[in-house]
Symmetry: C2
Subunit: 360 residues, 2 copies
DNA sequence: TTGGATCTGTCAAACGTTTGGCTTATGCAA
DNA sequence: TTGCATAAGCCAAACGTTTGACAGATCCAA
């Protein structure tokens, strides 16, 4: 009869129940139900057992399996901040790739606090998760992670790389993102550019800046860079930086690259307050494709990062490691795409194009 | 010595290892480490064992514990669509409440597909989760859920109630939300209102409409209602509905209530295209407090729903059920709040106020 | 008939805990 | 000293699987 377990009389049917009903030993049931079992049970018995199990509604107990096999079919997704709108698509990517492989995902939030990360990791160790996908890597965390990796459980980084430790990662190609932004503005004829940078100590932003600047230089255009110190992405910051640009004595730039859509938004409103019209007088391009901003007038041209894809790719790596632990998978950089909307247009003074051609 | 388990030589220290090192039986270690164990171990040994365990870095194996105790300290959060920006805050609320209680959360996405929901539930059964929080309830799902509840595992509904089945839920008070919107507009002197409704077959929207209409009627004001059939919340839909309102032969309403911010946005742009200025000529109020829209000009007045709070409250219920399974907790309705920004202002023609006073 | 192979299936030992029952030691009253 | 309660700790049986080792049956060649 169905076993009655600890939980308030919940009824569970076990291997033994099925075995009794089918008139075989429970180990035979186990084998009959294991899709890739060694051939130890005849086709007839197998079919019979499967029928009985089906009829009784047998569900294997994955926690027992986990204990025996040492594999829980669980991976943890650790994020810094669930409030960050970039995160949900990543989680979705993770779930969509892992689910068909029979895995489920636990989630936890570090709130950008290393001690919380450590607590979470210990807890996950205790839960015997099979792997970890970490989107919350901070520079100081490599020590903690190292100990964790020492326990033999795979860690894959998503979105954020981490310098202090060799871990497979799946990040966005910010160099390319910056390049795309620059090439777009150049192609529209802009030759005097400005870059509204995020804080310097974030690796991805440095690369973003580098990609932009290199492409600008390669085209023989000029660029002024202003830099924020605040955490990336407030509109106020964008205003502030844009003010610096407009107040400068140098010739006003016609193409603006903001490291974040909300900065672009702030910059845009400030410029319009000063009587400049976008895209007539200047073009501006943001980064991130923040949701709902496509509703603005003018809708923001931006660089979109493949977030869901990042989650999928990270999961892919996890599965790869789990299936063939011999070698680490290669880290990947995912290509962002340019999303052209209405905030970018042809440069206002085409005459300049030819003048500055050969500066390099 | 540390046991070497199945997973590629990963080293785990077990109760037995600690027991050997401490010179006691492993059951004693188990008791010494259990904070609320019956008094079976002296203070001295307990302290000694704790020290040894600490030094060896012992971490209890929660899957073994789960097997023995029949409790996995895991709850599952099932959502319809991780892409929905409302969901992340709910997840955060869930994690924040559950984590201090020693629980972690699994997540899964139904993609609004009942058969996927069923698969997921079976899988969760197999994993012996302690409870489920479901934000993805659809009308047709009560049958599936009933079977599941029959297995004795608690299900709590968040955000969406479900008519066919008695389940504790934690939803937003849409009636109040509609009322708040109406009262705000009334207080500003508006007497001719319009309501841009979402589709009729969604319960929460009906209540939203009801709350609004009742408050309007109570104030003796008039209202025209136009209704969408599309799934809630596209700007195009808002445009379409607003066009109907403006094209009507009746006197133009001065106060608009849209069932969703994006609808409000669409309505707003259409009205401005027709030469009306907001909030000078008309006021409009949305619903949902969709992120980033506060950057618009004019920034949208809206109704904010306590999403994170919903997650926390649902978790609270789960913990309550788990701790005292005797009685179901009462369902809760969470109060939304009015967020006043710039899209609402005093009604343009104050004279009308007195004229229509006693229509009821 | 004997002696392997091969094919099916059973047996039982794990996996790492929790926990009821048991044993021994200790304290204390008579 | 005995008797007895109580405290402290050990023993071993679970929990539901997986899986190596073994056993019986069948078949076939020698």
């Amino acid at each position: 009869m169905g076993a009655r377990d600890a939980r308030k009389g919940r009824t569970t049917v076990t291997l033994e129940d099925v075995a009794r009903a089918a008139g075989v030993h429970y180990s035979t049931v186990s084998r009959a139900l294991d899709p890739n079992a060694v051939r130890r049970v005849s086709a007839d018995t197998r079919k019979h057992i499967q029928a009985v199990a089906e009829k009784m509604g047998y569900q294997p107990d994955m926690v027992a399996t986990g204990l025996k096999r040492g594999r829980t079919q669980t991976v943890a997704a650790i994020v810094a901040d669930l409030g960050n709108p970039s995160i949900a698509p990543v989680l979705r990517g993770i779930a969509s790739r892992l689910e068909p492989a029979g895995f489920m995902s636990l989630f936890a939030e570090t709130q950008d606090d290393s001690s919380r990360l450590e607590r979470i990791l210990n807890h996950l160790l205790s839960r015997r998760v099979d792997a970890i996908i970490l989107t919350a890597a901070r520079v100081g965390d490599s020590r903690i992670l190292r100990r964790f990796v020492g326990h033999g459980i795979p860690v894959v980084l998503a979105l954020q790389g981490l310098p202090g430790i060799r871990l497979p990662s799946c990040t966005n190609d910010d160099l390319l993102g910056g390049t795309l932004a620059a090439q777009h503005l150049i192609a529209l004829g802009h030759r005097r550019l400005a870059q509204l940078r995020g804080p310097a100590d974030v690796q991805s932003l440095s690369r973003r800046a580098e990609g932009f600047s290199k492409a600008i230089a390669a085209a023989g255009a000029t660029e002024v860079v202003v830099q924020s110190t605040a955490p990336l992405g407030t509109a106020d910051d964008g205003r502030r930086l844009m003010r610096v640009v407009l107040d400068s004595k140098r010739a006003r730039p016609t193409g603006i690259f903001a490291h974040h859509d909300l900065m672009a938004l702030g910059a845009l409103t400030l410029a319009e307050e000063r009587g400049l019209r976008c895209p007539r007088d200047f073009s501006i391009i943001g980064y991130h494709d923040v949701p709902n901003l496509e509703r603005l007038v003018p809708a923001l041209t931006t660089i979109r990062q493949p977030l869901e894809e990042a989650g999928r790719a990270a999961s892919e790596m996890v599965l790869h490691i789990l299936n063939s632990p011999s070698r680490q998978p290669r880290s990947r950089r995912l290509a962002p795409t340019l999303v052209v909307r209405q905030s970018t247009g042809p440069a206002p003074e085409p005459a300049l194009q030819t003048v500055r051609k050969s500066r390099r």
